[in-house]
Amino acid sequence: MKVKQWILNAIVGLGALCALPTMGWAAVEPEAEGAWGLFASFPRDVSVDGWRIDWLIEVTMVFVVILFVVMCVWMFWACFFHNEDHEAEYDHGDAHHHVVTALVLSAVIFFIMDGNLLVNSIVDLDEVFWNFELAEKIEGAPRPECGAENSPTDGTCAVRLEVNARQWAWQARYAGLDGEFNTPDDVEVLNDLVVPAGSPVIVQLAATDVIHAFYLPNLRAKMDAVPGMINRLWFRARDEVRGDYEIGCAQHCGTHHYKMRGKLSIVSQEDFKAWIGEASRTASQGYDVNDVNNHWGWSWARGGKG
């Protein structure tokens, strides 16, 4: 009887422990998607700062697994050794030292695990993810015009991008060579974004119809695109990771939500400069005042953090 119970307990324990690694504490960065087969891991991180998120998740995962294993062992141990043959202790667990022990244990777990999360998260947000001043001035000694209303769009300063989400596509707008939005030389693209490696990219997001979410899995970036609001995020691709990556929609936005897929090409600074110059010139030549559908941009919105 006891043996049978123990075996069953062990099966469940093993089942759970097998289930856990499927969440994969894949500390190493996989070279390509699918390296782990059935066992999932993060998509390849091509951003400069994504490691902060990955690191925090992985470290916390270790805490979580430890706590979970302790809990399971405790439960199984009790079930096995403190079974019906064991005489129960008459103890209400409300003596002073019991209460203190429980509170101290809870507090220790809270301060270590949650404290680590809280502190690191706030530091990461302040230093990077919500630090748009940094994004505007990231290249050591920025040229004076970087960060100004119409800083050059040649990859030497932060690249500014206006993205308008609609069912079911990503419209994006570059300021063009004049560095100013809503002018004839604005470069407009659909589902096909190009950014330079190494430069910060600041995105302002809006939506036409319903709520969408701009999601760059490989750059660890995500933000809701809400009608009537301008949200923003920024990211920076590492130098050595040129190639095509995916843009996804992360917020349910209707029938073809699953198809709202875009391409993000990370190119070298030179290639970007060439591409934006060419595209901007073509845009001004083909500019049509009467094509109101293409005049969805806004003058770049200024604001504090966040």
Binding site: I11, V12, A16, T22, M23, G24, G34, G37, L38, S41, F42, P43, R52, I53, D54, I57, T60, F68, M71, A78, C79, H86, A88, E89, Y90, D91, H92, G93, D94, A102, S106, I109, F110, L117, L118, S121, I122, L125, W130, A206, A207, D209, V210, P217, N218, M223, V226, P227, G228, M229, G248, C249, H252, C253, G254, T255, H257, Y258, K259, G306
Partner: protein, 609 residues
């Protein structure tokens, strides 16, 4: 019946309790007895049957979602494809898929878990465990069920109308949930159904709150209530206060849908603010997830001491923790909205408050584990389900901290990780906890025993498969898979997850099939089960010590006087005098009774002066 009256009055005054709840004659007509009954036990069973119906329905929808993720675009086999998707030859189209996952979520939350856990067991347990003859407002109770029933009809009807049922996700975010995204009448009908079932919940909540405050048996102080009652009571308070907030949002949403206003419509079609709806939704929605777990905490808080044959460890600590969670649940909702463009300072405050919730949760876990430690554990079916609940809730709770933290939530927000996490807490824990309660109170409800072997097989199959299914979802989310994708493998960075999703689906089907064991057990036990004793688990709470199985119409011939807490096990004195390891809540030790030393002889030992 103030607390003072509860404490120290002589037995003579107990008479007033008998008169406060007079014994009404049994109803004799079939309709009054079984249909429009005001008896809390009958209403509990009505909620139970209704809940099972919707659980089956919602479960089938889940199977269809899983099929879609394993074999996107292929025809669904079995009657699901043949009957429900006849038009398309069994193939789930993207629009149908949206309806399926939307209605799966709504049905499971409002029409399956809520009636099963709160409707059925709130109704059954509260009066029986606190020594009341019925709810405080029996007619309101009846009205609550029939209002719920009407909302259920609306749900079924919504599938019949043109363009089908709701498809904007269970969160019903506008503008998608306005005519811009979901123009059909189905979505309107479903929002109205939520409104209606919300009223039903409200009536139940008023009843539960008043019943627990006013109708506790003489001598039963707040700290002598079973934890199940505590869980139900706190849940009722959250329902009472926060369901109306959802109703406020739903009312304005209905105006947007039907009368051309633009409260929540912005962008090309209006100048309202869609985020305002999200505020209202999550002010309700976050308490809602605790609404769905507090009763389960109550169940396991009781079952673990019951079957460890040991007093609940730091009972008051568990109560305080549950109260703390109830309070905190109202002020953390912002973590659902980190990426809507929320003010950073506000976001960080919500992150801090969210992480603080882990403290009371840790207290509860420690209390459960300490209760088991040095106990004399009987792995009965309800106990197995309670431990399974601790197991899955542990997983679900621990994975929640990734989502409550802003920077890690950048990556995990709106992925399958979220889906796996909240299914482990809201679905797996609620599911296992409620099944534990079903196995536990079945003898009381029907006077029959359930088959133990079938119950154990049901448990093991359920706990293993449910863990793998939801961990599989978390794994997919960990790899970046978004929620609610008709075909996730359109994305090349997700293509390699096809195997993972398929295996998760197989376990999902096994979970669904495993429930056949329960259905067989249920019907077999009702019709041909062995007769159960009044107190088969040998426990001291009033439902087992003072009510027959099944209880008579008025529950208690004489409302008992309570002397001690609900988990009085392993007391050496009791063993010496009575020869058993438990003491009834309304029981005095022979010497005390003979000597007449007072009303609360166990007061010191329960730590409840």
């Amino acid at each position: 019946m103030s607390d003072a009256t509860h404490g120290a009055q002589s037995h003579g005054s107990d008479e007033i309790y008998q008169h406060l709840q007079p014994i009404h004659p049994d109803p004799d007509s079939f309709i009054r007895k079984w249909i429009f009954s005001t008896d809390h036990k009958v209403i509990a069973k009505q909620f139970l049957w209704a809940g099972f119906t919707f659980l089956f329905f919602g479960g089938m929808l889940a199977m269809m979602i899983r099929w879609q993720w394993a074999y996107p675009g292929e025809a669904v086999p079995s009657f699901l494809g043949g009957v429900f998707l006849e038009d398309t030859g069994g193939v789930i189209g993207p629009a149908t898929y949206n309806t399926i996952f939307t209605m799966h979520g709504l049905i499971m939350i409002f029409w399956a878990i809520t009636p099963l856990m709160i409707g059925a067991f709130g109704n059954l347990c509260i009066p029986l465990m606190i020594g009341a003859r019925d709810m405080a407002f029996p007619t309101l109770n009846m009205l609550s069920f029939w209002t719920f029933f009407a909302s259920g009809i609306m749900i079924f009807a919504s599938f019949m109308v043109e363009l089908g049922s709701a498809a904007a996700g269970w969160t019903t975010y506008p503008p998608l949930s306005t005519n811009i995204g979901t123009p059909g009448f189905g979505q309107t009908l479903v929002v109205m159904a939520i409104f209606t079932t919300g009223s039903a919940t409200l009536m139940g909540a008023v009843n539960y709150i008043a019943t627990v405050i006013r109708l506790r048996a003489p001598g039963m102080g707040w700290m002598q209530m079973p934890l199940t009652v505590w869980g139900m009571w706190l849940t009722a308070i959250l329902n009472l206060l926060f369901v109306p907030v959802l109703a406020a949002g739903a009312a304005l949403l209905l105006m947007d849908r039907s009368f051309g206003t633009t409260f929540f419509i912005a962008g090309a079609n209006g100048n309202g603010d869609p985020i305002l709806f999200q505020h209202l939704f999550w002010i309700f929605g976050h308490p809602e997830v605790y609404i769905l777990i507090l009763p389960v905490w109550g169940f396991i808080g009781d079952f673990i001491p019951f079957f460890s044959r040991k007093p609940a460890y730091w009972y008051k600590g568990s109560v305080y923790a549950m109260i703390l969670v109830t309070v905190l649940s109202a002020v953390v909702y912002g973590h659902h909205m980190f990426w809507t463009g929320m003010n950073p300072l506000l976001g960080q405050s919500f992150m801090l408050l969210t992480l603080v919730i882990s403290v009371p949760a840790e207290m509860l876990f420690l209390n459960w584990l300490h209760t088991m430690w040095k106990g004399s554990i009987r792995l009965t079916v309800p106990m197995l389900f309670a431990l399974g609940t601790v197991f899955v809730f542990g997983l679900g709770g621990l994975t929640g901290i990734f989502l409550g933290t802003i920077s890690t939530d950048i990556y995990l927000h709106d992925t399958m990780f979220v889906v796996g996490h909240f299914h482990l807490t809201m679905a797996a824990a609620a599911f296992l906890g409620t099944f534990g309660a079903i196995y536990f109170w079945f003898p009381k409800m029907f006077g029959k025993k359930m088959n133990v072997s079938l119950g154990k097989y049901h448990f093991w199959i359920s706990v293993v498969t449910i863990t793998v299914v939801f961990c599989g979802q978390m794994a997919a989310g960990y790899a970046g898979q978004q929620r609610r994708l008709w075909d996730p493998f359109q994305y090349t960075f997700l293509a390699h997850l096809a195997d993972l999703n398929r295996w998760t689906t197989y376990f999902g089907f096994a979970l669904g099939l495993g429930q056949v064991l329960f259905v067989v057990n249920w019907f077999k036990s009702i019709f041909a089960g062995e007769k159960a004793d009044e107190n088969p688990w040998e426990l001291g709470t009033l439902d087992w010590t003072h009510a027959s199985s099944p209880p008579v119409h008025h529950n208690f011939d004489v409302i008992p006087r309570v002397y001690t807490g609900p988990h009085e096990f392993a007391n050496p004195e009791v063993k010496r005098l009575l020869g058993r390891d438990w003491l009834g809540q309304a029981e005095q030790l022979p010497t005390d009774a003979a000597a007449g030393t007072g009303d609360a002889p166990m007061a010191d030992s329960t730590g409840d002066a």
